[in-house]
């Protein structure tokens, strides 16, 4: 038998990430859908979380590193790499160009990891749901 509470304890993420939820207080179990529905939702939740964290941290991390380097190491970023082009300019333009690839990668990963799980959750919810068919 699975209780709603088990929802809190997700499959472990990659090492080094903070634990998902650490509220010390517990709460009652509520009437919910079937146990397997909960498992599906948990799988979808963790798939989304991995995708979201990897993509967001990559974008934010690379940008913060770029800005911090520009400010703290102007000599390095001002070094000429080709003709008048400095390293900082090249990195800036490269970030913009890489964006296209990142968006493509995100769409592909989302189609592979998240969409099938979302479809399962949606299909299970439809028989129980009131307005099947309508998306919202």
């Amino acid at each position: 038998m699975t209780y709603a509470d088990e929802n809190q304890y997700l499959p472990p993420g990659p090492p080094g990430w903070p634990p998902a939820r650490t509220e010390p207080w517990s709460y009652d179990a509520y009437a919910r859908q079937t146990p397997s529905h909960d498992a599906d939702l948990a799988a979808l939740r963790s798939a989304y979380r991995v995708l979201r964290r990897v993509s967001t941290l990559t974008v934010l991390g690379s940008f913060v590193a770029y800005v911090a380097l520009s400010c703290c190491a102007p000599g390095l970023m001002g070094a000429r790499v080709a003709g008048e082009l400095s390293l900082g300019m090249v990195l800036g333009v490269v970030q913009l160009v890489v964006t296209f690839a990142a968006v493509f990668w995100y769409g592909r990963s989302a189609r592979r990891s998240v969409d099938p799980l979302a479809r399962v959750v949606r299909d299970r919810a439809v028989p129980a749901g009131r307005n099947a068919g309508a998306v919202r």
């Binding site: 993509s55 082009l85 968006v103 309508a134």
Partner: protein, 538 residues
């Protein structure tokens, strides 16, 4: 200054009239039915992902992005490049982090997203207040800029009267677009705008590179020379300075832009009108592609302006460099008075004009929707308003928001109100972004936490900004002669973003302790709606 004959002015005027007529016609024809709310707020979910993506990009690239960012690139070089990168990455961040759950959680406005787990009037009112305080300053700064911009383009005398007339005309058009067109009408205008914008700026970028035989090295050499700053043009520091605190300020500004710009309500509002999650993903892919391409073009155009026009002339015409694109276009066609010159200049003028019109219309619509949907229909009528009544209210709030914005813009037109752009970004990063991320991803988030984030973040931004260097103490400030700059920075993000997140966390902890039943109820609502949030399952 503008040294063209009356032929160019006539062409530009003709172009403006055509643009206004065509867009007005399309807007009215695409407008919603009288009593269909879904149609007014989302446009019936009928847009294909490609078109919706163009509309998102159109809303995202405001007149401030086109004019100010190009100007900053032209005047400060490297700092401007960083700003262009952060502008593009902000939308990427929205796509990766918020877009999909936002689309599933929201219906019409930001208030719908926030009130989904904690219903109540206080939440709706707070959502409306923050929406207004983020969109109205942005609206005012663009409208008040419209006055000096149009007098520059049309070569009218630079007096207050002429500028006021321009502001009133642009403002009236903006009200008509927003009130009659709704989301569908403004989406159409945004699409037309983004096509014109990308087409024209690609042509300008190509003409610039052609001047330098397609050699970036030659262009950069000329830009360093034209800027008068030498190799400093290609290093960080021309915009805000190179001391430690000024560099910290620069980092703070860029992080605020990355976190805040894409969270602004007029952009997230477009996401709710996507059909499903794959559609919102494809829409955002198109939007990010368009915006990134445009940001690359901004870099080329700004550098070209520094190289060909020269920083001194740009700063003489406008200290913030907002006329640099127009001045660049005057030089690209060849001999003054020739056919090519007229053509290039008219195209760029038309691009600026339609960008200005569409971005102010989008912001008016977002503010008016929040007033009508959050404040009137949910806070005042507790969700029992008739759709027909709400529609009528939405139309009239568009008129009211527009009228207030016109009045404020006329009042502040002689001041340097660039700080209002900073205010909008900081509101987005310090109040909207924390509220949305907590509400979507943290099930322990409670009502007190939400109100603390929204009001606390907004108040922190306002307070710090009033005492910042952007308002007093520097020559470029709003009050250059006054001296109450206690907060030694131009933007407040470094303090106010952590403050917004901290306020939300502390408020929620307080609720867990003091009102355990309430916070359990919020958690239950979050978990009930989680299938909808993640999978769009009802």
């Amino acid at each position: 200054m503008n040294e063209f004959g009356s032929g160019t002015q006539a062409t530009v005027l003709l172009l403006f009239t055509t643009l206004v007529t065509v867009t007005l016609l399309m807007c009215v024809m695409a407008g919603p039915d009288r009593d269909d709310l879904e149609n007014f707020y989302t446009g019936y979910l009928k847009l294909t992902p490609f078109r919706n993506g163009l509309a998102i990009a159109g809303d995202y690239i405001s007149a401030a992005t086109v004019l100010s960012t190009t100007g900053i690139v032209a005047l400060t070089g490297y700092d401007g490049y960083v700003l262009a990168v952060s502008t593009a990455l902000s939308l990427v961040l929205l796509m990766f982090l918020l877009a999909e759950p936002l689309r599933n959680a929201g219906r019409f406005t930001m208030g719908d997203v926030l009130a989904r787990t904690m219903p109540g009037r206080a939440v709706r009112v707070a959502a409306c207040v923050v929406t207004l305080s983020a969109t109205l300053p942005f609206l005012v700064v663009q409208l008040s800029g419209a006055g000096s911009l149009l007098t520059f383009i049309l070569d009218l005398p630079h007096v207050t009267g002429a500028r006021t007339v321009c502001i009133v005309i642009v403002g009236t058009l903006m009200i008509i677009y927003a009130a009659l067109g709704g989301m569908r009408g403004t989406a159409l205008i945004q699409m037309i705008k983004i096509v014109i914008l990308l087409g024209t700026s690609t042509a300008v970028g190509a003409l610039v590179l052609n001047r330098f035989d397609w050699s970036p090295g030659a262009m950069l050499r000329a830009a360093q020379h034209g800027s008068g700053a030498g190799s400093a043009f290609l290093r960080q520091g021309l915009e805000l300075g190179t001391s430690t605190s000024e560099r910290l300020d620069f980092i703070g500004l860029q992080i605020t832009v990355v976190l805040g710009v894409a969270c602004l309500p007029h952009i997230t509002m477009r996401l709710y009108s996507a059909q499903d999650v794959p559609a919102v993903r494809r829409s955002m892919s198109w939007a990010v592609g368009t915006v990134t391409t445009f940001c690359l073009l901004v870099i080329v155009m700004g550098t070209g302006a520094a190289a060909l026009v020269g920083s001194r002339s740009i700063a003489e015409a406008d200290p913030q460099g907002r006329t640099s694109v127009l001045m660049l276009s005057q030089l690209l066609g060849g001999a003054p008075g020739s056919m090519a010159t007229t053509l290039v200049y008219s195209a760029v003028a038309g691009m600026v004009f339609i960008t200005l019109l569409s971005s102010v219309a989008g912001m008016t619509l977002a503010a008016a929707s929040s007033l009508a949907h959050d404040l009137f229909a949910h806070a005042m009528r507790r969700g029992r308003a008739q759709p027909r009544t709400e529609m009528t209210v939405a139309v009239w709030t568009s008129v009211a928001v527009g009228a207030v914005a016109i009045g404020l813009s006329i009042l502040v037109q002689n001041w340097n109100v660039g700080v209002l752009t900073t205010l909008a970004f900081c509101m987005g990063a310090s109040a909207v972004a924390p509220a949305l991320t907590y509400s979507l991803f943290w099930r322990g988030f409670t009502r007190t936490g939400l109100l603390a984030t929204l009001y606390g973040g907004a108040a922190c931004v306002l307070l710090l900004l009033v005492f910042s260097k952007a308002v007093s103490g520097t020559p470029a400030a709003v009050f250059p002669n006054a001296d109450f700059d206690l907060f030694p920075m131009q933007s407040t993000g470094l303090v106010s973003v952590p403050f917004g997140y901290l306020a939300g966390w502390l408020g929620s902890r307080l609720d867990h302790r003091r009102r355990a039943a309430d916070s359990r109820e919020h958690r239950r609502l979050y978990e009930e709606s989680e299938a909808r949030l993640l999978a769009a399952a009802e």
